[in-house]
């Protein structure tokens, strides 16, 4: 990335990419790995490879609809990725249920075939996996965007295109459910 691009915020980058499309690649360099980690945590690394590629293809095609007054494109990109992840909802829940049941995380592995992740999970993770699997998808999306990706309520609202009040109520519900299975641990 050139020194000049480093100075430009995402909104301005997207605006300029209307006339200079190659600038859009800088957005990939800024966020691809974060988005990948988020998708991989939900669906495994192989599915995440696809989701990242498709997120940026979709974002590029839709860049004309981006409100460039928002300096950070991160919530927008997480929103696209979350929509793509939703297509794999059954798989995500199946993986979580399997972890809850067996204590072994079947998350599809990286091509390197590392087995280090398949360690037996602690009891707490097993219970948590079961709880996450049983959440409505919208609640799970909100919970994970806040807990894993540190998005603010306003950012989650923008990512998922829902009112901030809905973010709060979904998060409240999701936390309550997680608290029920994990006991009185701080949530």
């Amino acid at each position: 990335m050139s020194a000049e691009l480093v100075e430009i915020d995402d909104g301005e980058l997207i605006r300029r990419s209307t006339h200079d499309p190659e600038l859009f690649a800088a957005l990939f360099d800024r966020y691809a790995r974060q988005i990948h980690l988020y998708a991989a945590r939900r669906l495994g690394t192989q599915a995440a490879d696809d989701i990242v590629a498709e997120t940026f293809l979709a974002a590029f095609r839709r860049r004309g609809t981006y409100d460039t007054s928002f300096a950070l494109a991160r919530p927008w990109l997480y929103g696209i990725a979350t929509t793509l992840i939703a297509r794999h909802r059954c798989q995500e829940e199946r993986l979580l249920r399997a972890l809850g049941r067996t204590g072994v995380d079947p998350l599809p592995e990286a091509l390197a075939d590392t087995v280090t992740r398949r360690v037996t999970a602690q009891g707490r993770d097993r219970e948590l996996a079961g709880a996450l699997a049983s959440l409505p998808r919208g609640d799970r999306d909100v919970l994970l965007l806040v807990a894993w990706e540190d998005l603010s309520y306003e950012e989650v609202a923008r990512a998922l295109d829902i009112p901030v009040g809905t973010v709060r109520s979904r998060l409240h519900r999701a936390r309550k459910k997680a608290r029920n299975v994990l006991g009185d641990e701080e949530l």
Partner: protein, 311 residues
């Protein structure tokens, strides 16, 4: 929130290979607006896209077939079961030594797409691909750079697990297809249609190194699939002609073509019979018109030590 924050925190980071491949796809879209990035399809999107592309490039051949008229010395196969059996025996008798699991299958194909009667009007290109012998990875060149991704839905080692039988390989393929469908589109309702089965077998035969017994079982399995028949004298993309397993369904007519003497894989030929628009996972759409023809021809296939090697 700490328990949730810690959950799967050790998930591995994106590999450089995956990042390069994803970025290359973006750059293709940026530089060639409207161009469908040509690529093998990743595991997660593979099923849907493959159904579409194979159906779109449905092999075909309008017209009359003259039974091997230019080869008077060859007795044409009498039926699809005989074709399956002869192809299976050729696979079993293949003297080529088995490659090492670390080696790769290099394949080079000529591809033609166009409209019926004028197949190379629109596009003619060659397509090189490397598939690891263990079936776990594939590679191709894009913009001069070697790209990698995970490969087969079907694990070749799983197919080779004894007992290897025609019914058994079909059952394993169906199970894999349904598993894939359950993770993604969920549109099969527990049934694998003959055209999907045909396509999966077609793909294995054309793209993957297979143990002779597995390849033979696949050839013997083809005649057992509803609707598959034999068609003589079907052309592949470079003008050679062969004997084909063929399947016609509502969407497309497809041929998997073998050399009429050696029964080695020659190529494919397909024609779409009905317009269809496919929506890819990225939201883009692509329409394949009725009458669209796609032919391929195998130009080279060999075992190499590393992806990117051609000899």
């Amino acid at each position: 929130m700490n328990a949730i924050k810690e959950f799967r925190r050790d998930t591995p980071a994106m590999t450089d290979e995956a990042a390069d491949a994803a970025r290359a796809r973006l750059m293709t879209a940026i530089r060639e607006p409207g161009a469908a990035p040509k690529r093998p399809v990743n595991r997660a999107t593979r099923l849907g896209r493959r159904v579409a592309v194979a159906a779109a490039l449905a092999l075909v051949v309008g017209g009359t077939f003259v039974a091997l008229s230019d080869r008077p010395d060859m007795a044409p196969v009498a039926g699809v079961a005989e074709l399956g059996e002869r192809a299976a025996r050729a696979a079993e008798n293949d003297p080529t030594p088995a490659p090492a699991p670390t080696q790769w299958l290099y394949t080079k194909d000529l591809q033609l797409t166009g409209v019926e009667g004028d197949p190379d009007r629109d596009r003619r290109d060659t397509w090189e691909r490397w598939t690891s012998v263990d079936g776990k990875r594939s590679a191709w060149y894009q913009d001069g750079k070697l790209m990698f991704q995970g490969s087969a839905v079907l694990n070749p080692a799983g197919l080779a697990r004894p007992p290897v039988t025609p019914a058994g390989v079909i059952a394993r393929i169906k199970a894999a297809v349904l598993d894939e469908d359950g993770r993604g589109p969920g549109e099969l309702n527990g049934q694998v249609p003959p055209e999907t089965l045909f396509m999966e077998i077609n793909q294995l035969i054309s793209e993957q190194w297979l143990a002779p017994g597995v390849r033979a079982a696949l050839y013997r399995a083809l005649p057992t699939i509803k609707g598959i028949t034999v068609t003589q004298d079907v052309p592949v993309a470079d003008g050679r002609r062969g004997v084909a397993f063929s399947l016609t369904h509502a969407e497309a007519r497809s041929y998997l073509i073998l050399d009429p003497e050696t029964f080695h894989y020659l190529g494919t030929n397909s024609t779409r019979l009905r317009d269809r628009t496919f929506e890819w996972a990225d939201g883009s759409k692509e329409t394949f018109k009725a009458g669209t023809v796609g032919l391929t021809a195998r130009l080279d296939a060999r075992i190499v030590n590393r992806p990117g090697q051609r000899s």
